[in-house]
Structures are given as structure tokens and as C-alpha cells.
Amino acid sequence: MRSWSYKKSARRMIAPAAFKNVRLRGGSVIARAEFSRAPMRDALQREAVAQTRIVGGRFHLLIQAGLSDPELSISLYHEILEAATVASQHPPDSVMEFNEGDFERAAQAAHAEWGDASPENLNRMLQSYGFREE
């Protein structure tokens, strides 16, 4: 598992607006992506670094700001692959047995192979795991 750190990034290569309303393989849509500068806490006041809300096939991503670009990219790959798996009634066989570590390794591999997360690269990753165009 990756250890989370909060290195300040001098420049932001990945813009959250680029992901808004992106249609993903598997049939889901990224309704919103946001990098939060405010501390993220859940109802029990536990500090969080990422949250993906899935409502009717629409993903609402919230990721803690301040990650380095590679960390942010890997987080996006991870959140999307895991959310697509969870949102699907019948996920592809290739991800059916994925545990948290497998999702993290898949996200790191996607970042290494395709570079920073982008709408196109997220769909490349989903395609590589068998998510179909819908």
C-alpha cells in the first residue's frame, strides 16, 4: 500500500474540470471531480483523503488537495477503477477478485504505462480490464 503524504505541488498538471461529465467505459459518468483544500472529515470526524460517491451511475470524486501530481494521478486511477467495479452489477472477471492492494497496484501500473490520469487514460485503463463501451 502506498503511504499517504501531503507534499505541496508547485504546479497542478491535472485539472479537476477536465473530468466533469466524462462518460466512462462500463456506463458510469464522472459528474464532478474536486480537489479539496479544506480538511475532509466524515460524519464521525475521521480524516479522509479521498471519497467517491456513486449515485445512479454518476461518480462524485473528492480528493484531498496537496498531493504531488503522481499521487493525484494514481489516486484518480484507483478511485475510478474501484468505483467502476463497485457500481457495476456484473463487473468484468478481471476485477472480480481485486482487493484494495490489487486496485492500488493496478492504479500504479496504469500511471506508469499511460502517464497522468486524464479522461482518455482512465478509459484506456477501464478498457484494459474489460469494461465495455455502453
Binding site: 500500500m1 483523503v49 492492494g101
Partner: protein, 65 residues
Amino acid sequence: MADRSKIQIDLIRLVGGERLLRLTEPQSGLSLEKKLDPQKPVASQKEQLLSVFDAALARAELAAA
């Protein structure tokens, strides 16, 4: 009657790396959360939680009827 198509799923990663899976039905306010076992498949853990949630939702609807 709760609308199951509107069940909200939250995947939350805590600072320590733990992953939470939370299901919420907005109309009834019923919510169920599980800390995911990092060793087990996420898809099957979600299905198990969804089964428990469905049963709890049905009980809540019966109680309200």
C-alpha cells in the same frame, strides 16, 4: 417505499489507508457502513453489505407500514 435505485454508495479512504464502504438510502435515511478487509475482494464485500442493507431496508419499510 424506499427507492432502491437511489441507493448512494460512498467509497472513503481514510488517512491511515483504510477503506470504508457506506450505503445510504436518502429517503429513509438508513445508512450502513463497513470497513473493507484489505485482503478480501471488494466486489464480494460490496455484495455482502448490499444484502444486509436490503434486508435492513425491508425491515424498516415493514416497521413503517
